[in-house]
Amino acid sequence: MAETTEDGSRGRKALSSPTFDYVDGILLGLYDSRSVLFALVRRNLAGRYRNSYLGFAWQFIFPAVTVLIFYVVFTGIRQNPMEDFAVYLCAGMFPFFFMKTNITQGAGCIVANGAYINKMYFPRSLIVLAQVISSMVVFLISYETAILLAALSGHHLDPLALLCLVPMILLMALFSVGCVLLLSSITVYVRDVQHLMDLGSWLLFWITPIFYVSDETSGILNAIIWSNPLTYFVDCFQSLVYWGEMPGFTQIAACIFMTLVVLTAGFYAFQRLKGGFAERV
């Protein structure tokens, strides 16, 4: 039931019980209102493109066209052309767009769902989850298609590395949940954040090694690239898909560390700020 039995979260808050119980209670609340989650996801996915001819396909067109453009441009001007450059582009482009969508669209997701927040009670974090799950569905379909095409084109894929994609994708999803929790709740109070993220993600695009290889850079540029959190995730995906090898230990450790940091910060911010959502959206 969407409205949940009230003694749930409110009672728990009063108790200020240990963290484990607290998280446990939240997860339980989420499970109880899973139908709301489905509804929100379905609304995100099916509702958005309902009136367009290409509909859902629009979700894939943007990254696909970007891949195409960079492929055409960079195969033309590169000094030493990379083998299967298209596969390299896809390997990094789709994870990047997944995270970018969550950072930009995700930042506004609480505000965008104000009508629900104002009119009914359900755990607010469902909106965040719905956002990440919706973009995850799109990502999975497009990434799978891209990998399939890569295999068909004769690019060598390492089965073990591909298997490792599963935990990697999960990690990226958790990282995104953290980002969305943090950004969306702040956006409710400071609407500029969403616009800032639009700009920021555009900048991030250029300092993420998607259409170039990080090893080819040096000096200050290299430092900038590795100060971009998304670089680590994109690098891991490129290792697994394009290079067919395990990602470097540093990269994985960095990904896990950042995920924990962002999740904690996002969770904390969200819990602190969610009380004011209804009166501000």
């Binding site: 409110r10 009670y121 209804a278």
Partner: protein, 461 residues
């Protein structure tokens, strides 16, 4: 928590921060704003027993909806606690959760899931929901093509399936047509009979009285009164009628009866300081807008002033009120006119009536003639009366025709002219003037002033 209680609210307070422009320019050329706290709820204590059907009434901005939102956990209070025993569902907006581009069927699933139904449960109920909504063949068209009523019915059809112990319903019943309203009322009646707890917020006092057993009146974030629904609604109505802010607000908005009420409040010093000037101002406005009780009252006020201009205005207002059927005005008018007729300076009255008659309304012309005739002091007056009567008669006033006939017959105001008199009587009679018809019958039967003519007599009789 008392086990008999479904909801226990203790010491609940909530205030909102509003930003108000100060007028100063700040950074980026944006106007500086200051933050103002506005209290929405203040120290609310409320027990809702299990099975209570409670109606919450109050003006816009009184805090009703905020209270509902806090109880349903949508908003968090600044202070105080809310304890709830049972599964709670809130229906704060009927159309909520509908996606305009999705079909009715898809939206049933969407909304159903938002209200916590599983897909399986919805699969089972979908047919009965569609049937209940009465949307029929349009169920697979996008909801944006629906009329407001259809959307409302569809939403309501999902809503009746909500299974909760406590329902919070905000202003939902006021949408939709008569049939819908009846269905909705029936549904909530059944719910309350089955022992569910329901809280309504509505501005429609009739609906609330009809459905609730208990009422709570909230104003400015405080509970004003809590008790039997009939007591609450009538107390609330009285409160609204007596509230100076509301009444003056309405009066400013040119609602005539509010203007009248405001003038009464100024007269009696109820809620506002006594102020004769303001009383008169509002009374005048109300009277000028044609509000009958105000006209009668204002006329009296004017008449009491005593000068001729005011008296004439007073008479006009009396007349207008009297014509709208105000008995008091009628009585006053006839008393005044009676007095006037005996009065030696009836000239003022005559002047007034002449002025009225000059507008060319046959009824006024007739009245003027009548006044001249009844208060006549000489042949001149009678002549004038005849002129007015003739004018009115020529515009088709039958009473005036009769009068003209009478005067010509009797030689008042003019030399006797039986032939012309009969002509006038016949004109009036032809238009269905009964007295003329009867009179003509007599005339022809007895052969007075005209040759006896039984056929004509019979016809007029």
């Amino acid at each position: 928590m008392d086990p008999g209680n479904a909801i226990e609210v203790r010491g609940l307070s909530k205030s909102f921060v509003l930003e108000r422009k100060t007028g100063e320019k700040g950074a980026f050329g944006k106007e500086k704003t200051e933050k103002v706290r506005r209290t929405a709820l203040e120290g609310i204590d409320l027990d809702i027993r299990k099975g209570d059907v409670v109606g919450i009434v109050g003006r816009n901005g009184s805090g009703k909806s905020t209270l509902l939102k806090i109880i349903s956990h949508i908003m968090e209070p600044d202070e105080g606690t809310v304890s709830i025993d049972g599964k709670i569902a809130s229906i704060l907006e009927l159309g909520m959760g509908f996606h305009p581009d999705m079909t009715g069927r898809e939206n049933i699933y969407l909304k159903g899931e938002l209200y916590g139904f599983s897909r399986g449960a919805l699969d089972e109920r979908i047919d009965s929901i569609i049937a209940y909504s009465g949307v029929g063949e349009y169920i697979d068209s996008p909801v944006r093509t629906y009329s407001t009523g259809m959307t409302g019915r569809l939403a309501f059809a999902v809503m009746v399936n909500i299974d909760a112990d406590i329902l919070l319903v905000d202003e939902v019943l006021s949408t939709g047509d008569v049939v819908f309203a009846a269905k909705a009322r029936e549904h909530f009646r059944k719910l309350s009979k089955s022992g569910k707890t329901v809280i309504f917020v509505s501005h429609s006092l009739g609906t609330i009285e009809d459905m609730c057993t208990r009422g709570v009146w909230i104003d400015s974030g405080r509970i004003m009164k809590d008790g039997r629904i009939k007591d609450i609604t009538s107390a609330y109505m009285r409160g609204v009628e007596d509230s100076p802010e509301i009444v003056s607000d309405l009066a400013e908005y040119e609602v005539p009866d509010a203007q009248h009420r405001l003038s009464l409040m100024y007269r009696d010093g109820r809620g506002v300081e006594k102020d004769e000037a303001k009383r008169e101002e509002w009374l005048k406005k109300s009277a000028e807008q044609g509000y009958v009780p105000a006209q009668a009252e204002y006329a009296e006020l004017l008449y009491a002033r005593g000068d001729e201009a005011s008296k004439a205005d007073a008479l006009e207002f009396y007349r207008s009120a009297a014509l709208s059927g105000n008995e008091e005005a009628k009585a006053r008018l006839s008393a005044i006119l009676g007095g006037y007729r005996a009065d030696r300076d009836a000239d003022a009255l005559r002047a007034f009536y002449r002025r009225l008659a000059d507008r060319g309304n046959p009824l006024d012309e007739f009245r003027c003639g009548d006044l001249m005739l009844t208060s006549a002091r000489g042949e001149d007056d009678r002549r004038e009366a005849l002129v007015w009567f003739t004018k009115a008669a020529e515009r088709g006033n039958c009473d005036a025709m009769f009068k003209v006939g009478e005067m010509l017959r009797d030689g008042k105001g003019e030399k006797k002219d039986p032939k012309k008199a009969v002509e006038w009587f016949e004109r009036a009679a032809a238009k269905g003037h009964v007295r003329s018809q009867f009179y003509l019958g007599e005339v022809y039967y007895h052969g007075r002033t005209v040759p006896r003519d039984e056929a004509k007599a019979l016809k007029w009789y």
